[in-house]
Amino acid sequence: MTTVRVLPEQCTGCGECVPSCPVAAIEMRGPAAFITDACTVCGICVTVCPVEAIEMQHVAPAARPCEPCRGVWVFAELHRGRLVGVARELMAKGRQLADRKGTELTALVFGAAVEAPARELVALGADRVLGAEHPVLELFHDDAYVAACLALADGQRPEIMLCGGTVLGRAFFPRLAARLDTGLTADCTSLEIDEESGILLQTRPAYGGNLLATIACPDRRPQMATVRPKVFPAGASDPARIGEIVIRRDWDGRLHSRTKVLEVLEEVVQTVNIAEADVIVAGGRGMGAAENFALLEQLARVLGGAVAASRAPVDAGWVPYARQVGQTGKTVCPKLYIACGISGQVQHLVGMQSADVIVAINKDPQAPIFSVATYGIVGDALEIVPLLIKALGRP
């Protein structure tokens, strides 16, 4: 059982913790703060208190010994038989973590034919690739994926396991984590090994991106994390690298699935995947109307880029959801990001602030987007964009 408690001798009664509580569970009672039953033990107040007068206590169950475990494993997702971008990014990160720990990097790859991607994974840094080949693995079936994974692991427990925060990964990894009875941290933006303990420190946005939380899974293994596409850079591929490849093809009915994909629907609006674009022209509520996005399409054409949006135009139905950038949309990392009529709320910024160059065009000089912009222009996007298109057309 866990509680958060105020140390009355230490509390100065400053009251700073009171507004920090997301569930209003702190009251001032006399000279000190008091934590009511509404507390959800989130721990935010502990970090806010300037005099360290709030502590989180827990009566831990007898710490279970860590199972013997070894190695860093990356689940490398295939889409239509080819490695997805985030798989390459995770191989680079996985290699780095394995080197830090002095251990080997294993890649898992499932599909109808995995020989070619397995060789590519060795080139991307795998010491060993465990492949599972079966028609049911070509598309995502959660029962079959978990069964294949456990069969390939064959009793080995990795120390760290990573997977892309894709639609597939976000359904598969939680299920696997629950089966392995271990922790999982979603959408990590940083993964580091702690110098002292050797534990994986997993940092992710919390409370709508307003704060970052570093999370650890100290006494269970594997330490599991998902990472969204484009958060980490992909590494170089070295075709001369050598690694072991083991592909299992004989499954003997062990990949039974209670779900079945009947049909795959592809949608035309999604032909441009904004997560892959080098140049993005994005519009926000400030574009005023759906029609005005045609201006952005035009600018994107001149720059050879794609059009994206903040959440406001998506909610208004001007732009399809597939083009939303931000915490609940896509994370992008283009060379150039042009934000037109976007205020720059934190939920939008988390999705685009690692772009190399950011241009902001906004009427309001106080708009937070300017605090991340490489170049800022205070003005009417509907006026500036056509002028910019003209200027770019005339070298």
Binding site: G43, V59, A178, L184, A373
Partner: protein, 262 residues
Amino acid sequence: MKIIVCIKQVPDTVHVRINEKTGAMEREGVPAVVNPYDLYALEEALRLREAHGGTVAALTMGPPQAEAVLRDAIALGVDEGYHLSGREFAGGDTLATSYALAKGVEKIGEYHLVLCGKQAIDGDTAQVGPELAEHLGLPFLGFVRRVRESGAGRIVVERMTEDGADVVESTLPAVISVVKEINTPRLPSLKGKMRARSFKATTWNAEALGADEARLGFAGSPTKVVKIFHPEARRGGEMLTGEPAEVAARLAEKLRSLGVCR
């Protein structure tokens, strides 16, 4: 058809602001609400009930004040409300939370479908649904944008993917998480509001659930928050000022020198 919908009470983060001076989150006047994604799950459950008959139960785990979300669900037309409450549940990560919810679902007993929202806006993990499915030993269908068919022991849904959707069939019972494209949630009716006023939730603690306390709350959570801090802001650069045409020309020049434009 008996449907159980998992709903969570969350702070309405749309209104959360960070106090520039103290760096603390200001929740002054920030209401606690039903997690917005869970409203779509509730709506879908009500529509399935309207189409096939049966009952809809709402299940929440949270502190005493979380009972309010069950009252909101009743006002929308849900038949029953169950509240998992007690200090032993507090501070749980997704593994501990999904374990508790699984115990709750099992205690409610007979059911054909468990619905969740895509994710909770405070934690944003989208993990509780699939973990709950694993604890219950059921298939999981995530990011569902449409239920095409549902009937005796079988359901067909459209599950969103990066470039479209998969049409997936599953056996029932199953656990499903829904996205906001699935429907437009209704507003509470007057009759519903009247019912909500006199509604009393069925409340269970760990003991009533027969749950293993070592797997609940903070103690049962493999993940621990090491620290919470403020993102380091990227710093702003150069402001281009002047007449619009002149500014546009200077920006075009900058972009050309970056070599990003053809």
